[in-house]
């Protein structure tokens, strides 16, 4: 019954590795987002997809590559992980141009 789910919940990895985070929503929304929340709780949008099309691409290193195989899924692949990538990554979904976004539980990434 979870509306927006993410896997994994926790990810501990070494610098230089490549990792992926997956997100799925069962709300029928047409828009999905990736956010990064740093240790000071600042929530910053990274990407947004509408019907599998990239609509927001903030100034994010190109080591981060989102992929949306269908409108219910949005994955995030990160190459060559760096210490500064340690954060909580949240997936969210909404209807485009509607104000309510539904967030997943977050993926806690720790890069050692």
């Amino acid at each position: 019954d979870t509306a927006v789910s993410q896997t994994p919940k926790y990810l501990v990895t070494q610098m230089g590795n490549d990792k992926s985070i997956k997100c799925e929503q069962n709300l029928g929304h047409d828009t999905m987002y990736w956010y990064k929340q740093d240790s000071k709780k600042f929530l910053k949008i990274m990407f947004s997809y509408n019907n599998k099309e990239l609509i927001i691409n903030e100034t994010v290193p190109n080591r981060f590559s989102p992929k949306s195989p269908d409108k219910a899924h949005l994955n995030l692949h990160i190459n060559s992980l760096e210490l500064g990538d340690s954060a909580v990554y949240f997936c969210a979904s909404s209807w485009r141009n509607e104000e309510t976004q539904y967030f997943g539980p977050g993926t806690r990434l720790l890069v050692l």
Partner: protein, 111 residues
């Protein structure tokens, strides 16, 4: 200057107090104003949203928007320990219609 400014707190109040949480912003194109609540180790959840200026009430929560001062507030009446969380304001508007979040205010309601 950040587009949205929010005092990070923490703000500690006794149970039953009235809590006032605030954000200021610089972009006059913002039209939609939201408040999210985030419990520890959880994702944010929408509490309330307001379009343009004015007040909106929902139970113990009241959201206020003053567009002339670029200032929004969330009031919590009769605060409860279960209200302890981080409260994030968010705004939307402008050409790219992007969502911008404040940094969040951590609230602790003491029993």
């Amino acid at each position: 200057q950040k587009e949205v400014e929010q005092d990070p707190g923490p703000l500690s109040v006794p149970e039953g107090a009235i809590v006032s949480l605030n954000c200021t912003y610089s972009n006059s194109a913002f039209q939609y104003f939201m408040w999210y609540r985030q419990y520890s180790r959880k994702g944010p959840e929408l509490l309330m949203y307001t379009y343009s200026s004015g007040n909106k009430e929902d139970g113990r929560f009241t959201a206020q928007v003053d567009k002339s001062s670029k200032y929004i507030s969330l009031f919590i009446r009769d605060s409860q320990p279960s209200d302890s969380a981080t409260y994030l304001c968010a705004m939307r508007g402008g050409i790219d219609y992007k969502y911008i979040f404040g940094t969040g205010t951590r609230l602790k309601v003491l029993a």
